[in-house]
């Protein structure tokens, strides 16, 4: 399982992927908002999105788990 974590502290502005979705490398999982910028969180690996730990409106801290991608 590949972990996708927040690289910065931000608000979850948009969740764009859903659990069960097939994702390719570089696909957006969600978009965070910080300092008036929309910051896309993408997956570095292809696979199936197994778990999503955030909802729109949540605040994430740097390092928080956002999603799990099943690469198998």
């Amino acid at each position: 399982m590949a972990e996708i974590r927040a690289e910065i502290t931000a608000n979850v502005w948009q969740v764009v992927a859903e659990v069960g979705q097939m994702v390719a490398e570089g696909d957006e999982i969600c978009i965070l908002e910080s300092m008036k910028m929309e910051i896309p969180v993408v997956t570095e690996v292809p696979g199936v999105l197994r778990e999503l730990y955030v909802n729109e409106g949540d605040t994430v801290q740097e390092g928080d788990l956002i999603a799990l991608i099943d690469e198998s």
Binding site: E7, I8, M35, K36, M37, E38
Partner: protein, 529 residues
């Protein structure tokens, strides 16, 4: 050990005992601290000092100075300390000589003996005479108490001043390969490049036992001064690596960007990557939607030769990227904003990181390339208390002072002082170009709208309505921020297609290669710190 007496049997050419004795002395010195301490070194996940030199240097180029040194410390009596715990000499890296001072942790924990330090001092002088880089391999507990007892310490400390005298004259690398304290923590402080091995290296002004005694804090070397602390929090170190071998590889890689001394240009490495390669990936990497962030590292990798970048301090002040790369075979120093972190805004650490990197490149004739996507400096009482004014001024000072060729590419926003410190036109930018998305302005629309339309917005009661109106008015302001206005005034040298970015930087570097700047003489400026 006593020298054999020749001439016993009346043989006037009695070389055998002398040569044999010499060989055994050398063999003994090459055993370092002995088998069990060598095993201990390995069990700690570290290589021995001599194994490190084998990996660092080109084969067959090592010339050792002072192999047969020993301690001369009264407190240690008859003990034999191979090479007095410091292996020194000259070797080659990529065919170019470097001076080496490598501490041997198997000999009294690599502590600094008087003889060892004399050897290293000799190497420093040699490096300056020969104009060659200096590399320290640090794996040392620090000062050896038995070497400087009592107030003879009054004469100590020349090593740091000598290091300062070398700063900016020859490249200095301090590789952290063990737990180092005090003296051996100041050496990296004064060096140019400090890679640290994760888990087995650390640096701190006071070792843990001293810290416990002095301030009562119980802390491990790793917690106090390990690679996580110095590459992510304090910014003292430049890079964290996984093991000794990786560390030595990165030292070789780092030096490949630098000339042997400040009198030379950086070495050119021929590249098969075409100089006029169109970088069409940038269309997919960089959004035209101004609020949408992207990873600037990917932009840099796409532009430079073979996508190869040696990032400096990548885990600290991540809102500002600094790295060494090549374009058309020529080393360049990249300074770029990172929109993904703090929106690319500058804070105290980012300003320090940039200033330091600019000074480094300028010292050694490495041209600078600035990639702008910056909303300015962070404002507010928190950063004011941190001294953002003087830290920001430090970055401005460094960029202003630099006389190497300076190329600027404004990708998207570049507001206010952010535009200045990223080498705006007035900062002696030798070639400054902008993308069609460039927004150069004193302030961004989102900031300006709150000032220009403050009263209008305050009059709107409903929060959502006010937010919508704010966005609408901001977009109206944005329409007046246009790179073609700057280009119209010839305040930009050109507006370019993003795919032309690599070629644009390459031609900027080519036409500015022989830049010379004259300034009124002064001893040095009064630097903001």
């Amino acid at each position: 050990m006593t020298k054999p007496i020749s001439h016993e049997g009346g043989d006037v050419h009695d070389w055998g005992p002398l040569v044999g004795d010499l060989a055994s002395r050398k063999e003994r010195a090459l055993e370092m601290g002995g088998e069990s301490l060598v095993e201990r070194q390995h069990s700690l996940g570290k290589l021995t000092v001599r194994e490190r030199l084998d990996l660092l240097l080109d084969p067959g180029t090592w010339v050792e100075y002072g192999l047969l040194a020993d301690h001369m410390d009264a407190g240690l009596g008859d003990r034999f300390l191979a090479a007095d715990g410091a292996v020194t000499g000259i070797g080659e890296i990529d065919g170019r000589p470097v001076a080496i001072a490598a501490y041997d942790f198997t000999v009294m924990a690599g502590s600094m003996g008087a003889v060892g330090e004399n050897k290293i001092s000799r190497m420093r002088a040699h490096a300056v005479r020969q104009r060659i880089p200096f590399v320290w391999l640090l794996d040392s507990a620090g000062a050896r108490i038995q070497s400087t007892s009592g107030s003879t310490f009054a004469g100590a400390g020349a090593l740091f001043r000598e290091q300062v005298a070398m700063s900016g004259v020859v490249p200095m690398v301090a590789a952290m390969l063990g737990h180092c304290a005090a003296g051996t923590a100041y050496i990296p402080a004064l060096a140019d490049f400090v890679p640290m091995v994760k888990g087995t290296s650390s640096m701190a002004l006071g070792g843990r036992h001293l810290v416990k005694a002095a301030v009562g804090e119980d802390v491990t070397e790793e917690e106090m001064g390990g690679s996580a602390v110095h590459t992510k929090i304090s910014g003292v170190a430049d890079l964290e690596v996984g093991d000794d071998k990786e560390c030595l590889d990165v030292v070789r890689s780092y030096l490949s960007f630098f000339p042997s001394s400040n009198l030379d240009r950086p070495p050119v490495r021929e590249s098969k990557d075409p100089i006029d390669r169109r970088v069409e990936e940038l269309y997919a990497l960089v959004p035209t939607a101004p609020r949408r962030a992207y990873d600037m590292r990917k932009v840099v990798h796409a532009i430079v030769d073979e996508g190869d970048v040696l990032w400096m301090k990548p885990e600290w002040a991540k809102n500002l990227l600094t790295g060494l790369a090549r374009i058309g075979g020529h080393p360049v120093g990249i300074v770029a904003n990172q929109p993904m972190v703090l929106g690319g805004a500058l804070d105290v650490n980012a300003a320090d990181k940039a200033a330091r990197f600019v000074w480094l490149c300028d010292a050694f004739n490495i041209p600078l390339v600035f990639l702008h996507d910056v909303p300015g400096f962070i404002v507010g009482s928190a950063v004011e208390k941190q001294g953002i004014i003087r830290h920001g001024a430090k970055m401005l000072f460094a960029v202003s002072e630099a006389t190497v060729p300076k190329i600027s590419v404004v990708l998207r926003k570049s507001y206010g002082a952010g535009y200045f410190v990223m080498n705006g036109l007035a900062y002696e930018a030798d070639y400054i170009v902008a993308w069609p998305t460039a927004e150069i302005a004193v302030m961004g629309p989102d900031g300006a709208v709150n000032i220009i339309h403050r009263k209008t917005l305050e009059a709107i009661e409903d929060d959502d309505e006010r937010a919508a109106k704010r966005l609408e008015l901001a977009e109206q302001i944005r329409a007046n921020i246009d790179p073609y206005i700057a280009a119209g005034h010839a305040q930009l040298d050109d507006v370019i297609d993003p795919a032309d970015t690599r070629a644009a930087i390459a031609r900027g570097l080519r036409i500015t290669a022989d830049k010379e700047v004259d300034r009124p003489w002064r001893k040095h400026g009064v630097l903001p710190v």
